[in-house]
Symmetry: C2
Subunit: 250 residues, 2 copies
């Protein structure tokens, strides 16, 4: 049977997943997706993800690539997948891509969003998607610290051990702090992110916002100066919004 | 000890509650709130709600009234309650009200919102708060049907059996169909609502939107003409947004 390479855009609520990557035990996005694909095509199918989101991290636009028997039209495939997948995981779009396409290696950039709720009262409806900070945050200080993150830097100070990257230099094309009512959204776009990098940058920003760490610490840490270590911000505030591919890859 | 009458504004995700009203068994909002209050004040405390929201119905602005020992300041009471209540129930505000205030009997009007997601792909993040309609809805027809609901009418045809109201005449000051991207919000405001009334009106609108029922049916039903019975729309799309009180009651 002829095969085709397909890119799936996925949204999931990370709360009940142990992250993207298949593991020996436990419910993961990759294993759940592969199981649905294998069920539909009645053979073992593997899917590659653009990023290994951590346990509790959400996605609005994760991308997975896989080689599939060309037995179903793309709309039929989408329908079959969404009828098979559990309710916290959905396929938003399906497209045919060139054979060499790989969700991770073909990616040019990724966009993440981290959401804080900065008000006294705790959240109810989106309690699994925002991180509640009940004390007032100094937005101006947070923005001052955030500004230095854009550009090409060695983000060594913002990776957690367990990172397998050979270089810790990354280029961020965007790192913005947007306030909307009580909600503070931190939007990051870059050509790659180290393990825990966004969560550690946000963790620092929260401490800066609370006035516990000086905004200049961000630049110091990027320059390799030793500095205070802020707690890694919780997973549930993070969402993989979009994966960007060069036109020629698609 | 001196007592005070207090009005609490509550938000809750109705998904894991068997509705507002205390029952012999099962988790309800009223019982959960009363338990927290009784724990804080170390005595049995009862709370009256403005409306008995059904199982699965949400609230952003439910109001409960209760008589409490004046042992805590209002901010301290709010803090103690939010530290005691489970994460799907929160007190948004606490205020002292005159002794005669009653969340239900003092209410002048209520506002509800019903949310539909009208797109092919099913929702993920707010799957417990919106009702997914995958086939295209005719908004114009829905609006035509919706228009006749505003004003004073006998809503007998839109109540479910089990309603205990002596009269089925109600006055709606608002009944709007608002579209925002794939989301359709139906906003209803009135001096009172019969059992299942909003959900039955929305159920009719959905059938009208699908082209299965003529928009004029709404007016016919209000005039007492027998007509097709649309399915009651699911509870999870409904949210009690606000309860309105006359100034003198507060």
């Amino acid at each position: 049977m002829p095969h085709q390479t397909v890119a799936l855009t996925l949204a999931y609520e990370g709360t009940s997943f142990l992250g993207w990557q298949r593991q020996k035990e436990g419910r993961t996005v990759q294993a759940t997706l592969e199981k649905a694909l294998s069920q539909i095509f009645q053979r073992k199918i593997q899917a590659a993800g653009s990023a290994r989101t951590d346990s509790g991290v959400h996605a609005e636009g994760q991308v997975a690539s896989c080689r599939l028997p060309a037995a179903l039209s793309l709309p039929a495939l989408k329908k079959a997948l969404n009828a098979t997948l559990p309710e916290d995981l959905v396929v938003r779009s399906v497209r045919k891509v060139p054979k060499g396409f790989h969700a991770r290696f073909s990616a040019r950039a990724k966009s993440y969003r981290y959401t804080l709720l900065n008000q006294k009262t705790r959240p109810v409806f989106d309690r699994e998607r925002v991180v509640h900070v009940p004390v007032p945050l100094n937005l101006k200080a947070m923005r001052t610290a955030a500004r230095c993150f854009t550009g090409r830097h060695d983000f060594k100070a913002f990776q957690s051990s367990g990172s397998r990257a050979s270089s810790s230099t990354r280029k961020l094309t965007r790192f913005s702090v947007i306030s909307q009512g009580a909600r503070i959204r931190i939007e990051a776009q870059g050509n790659g992110f180290l393990y825990h990098m966004v969560r550690r940058m946000v963790g620092l920003l929260i401490e800066v916002g609370k006035g516990r760490i000086s905004p200049s610490t961000a630049a110091d840490l990027l320059r390799g100066k030793p500095g205070p270590i802020a707690p890694t911000a919780p997973a549930k505030g993070l969402c993989l919004v979009r994966v960007h591919y060069p036109k020629e890859a698609l």
